[in-house]
């Protein structure tokens, strides 16, 4: 997991760099929550450039972080999800609350 905080726009980029399953989700969650509570961003952006696999543990992970950012009054977005990851995202219905953005639209 890499993260980058854009101070000017108050956006936290969370770049996941491993396969997301139940085994890995716990660790990713801890790092993400740490970063979110540290920066208190207006928006979090999940960057999936380096994710080659995700199962339903990833959906649980995203919903949990969405709840946290909502508590802080912010929003969440997804960028760079490949075809395989998008299939799981679409099926879960999660895109209604965490939409996929084209990278150029991301502030």
């Amino acid at each position: 997991m890499n993260s980058r905080f854009n101070k000017k726009d108050n956006v936290l980029y969370l770049e996941i760099t491993e396969e997301i399953d139940h085994h890995k989700a716990e660790k990713i969650r801890r790092v993400m929550d740490n970063e979110i509570t540290r920066f208190m961003p207006r928006k979090i952006v999940f960057d999936f450039s380096n994710v080659s696999f995700m199962d339903s543990a990833g959906i649980g992970l995203l919903i949990g972080r969405y709840k946290l950012i909502k508590l802080l009054g912010g929003t969440a977005e997804i960028i760079n999800a490949n075809k395989i990851i998008s299939k799981v995202l679409e099926m879960s219905g999660i895109l209604k609350i965490i939409p996929i953005q084209n990278e150029e639209n991301v502030s």
Partner: protein, 158 residues
């Protein structure tokens, strides 16, 4: 012994969460013999990951037990049987429902069976409380247009 399948394999491992990746990668490597597309292979990996995670979290509730996978190939179809000797499912119909989870506190999404059902062609669940659960999933691999060419090419090379 003559198998009624074209190929078959069995795998047994402890219900440790770091075996989730091991299980899905191993089954995918076996399924690769059917010459699936990257997307079909991803479907199989995801479904196996869901079933194995269920054994670990629900079947054994994070205690140690054995998970067994049997996979068979027949023509263009793979059948994958994943079983545990865990606590079993009380209400299978309820467990299959999208978003239903008994482990909401663990941030489980309740999408496991829904994903298995939509990524595989058939999913059967057999379960007896306190005896265990067995999930049988089947998927047909579509024949790719260039598969025949590949065969010819392989024949030439060999």
């Amino acid at each position: 012994m003559k198998s009624r399948y074209d190929n078959e394999m069995e795998l047994e491992f402890l219900s440790k969460s770091n075996n989730e990746a091991f299980a899905r990668i191993t089954v995918a490597a076996f399924a690769a013999q059917l010459d699936p597309t990257i997307e079909e292979l991803a479907d199989i990996k995801t479904a196996v990951s869901e079933a194995v995670t269920n054994c670990i979290i629900h079947g054994y509730e994070n205690t140690e037990g054995l998970i067994k996978i049997k996979a068979t190939l027949l023509k263009n179809e793979i059948e994958i049987e994943i079983s545990d000797n865990g606590k079993g499912i009380e209400n299978i119909e309820l467990a299959r429902k999208p978003l239903y989870t008994t482990k909401g506190n663990l941030e489980r999404s309740g999408m496991g069976f829904t994903i298995m059902e939509s990524f595989m062609d058939e999913v059967e669940i057999h379960s007896v409380v306190d005896i265990g659960t067995k999930v049988i999933m089947k998927k047909k691999i579509k024949k790719q247009e260039n598969a025949e060419e590949n065969e010819e090419e392989n024949a030439l090379i060999n």
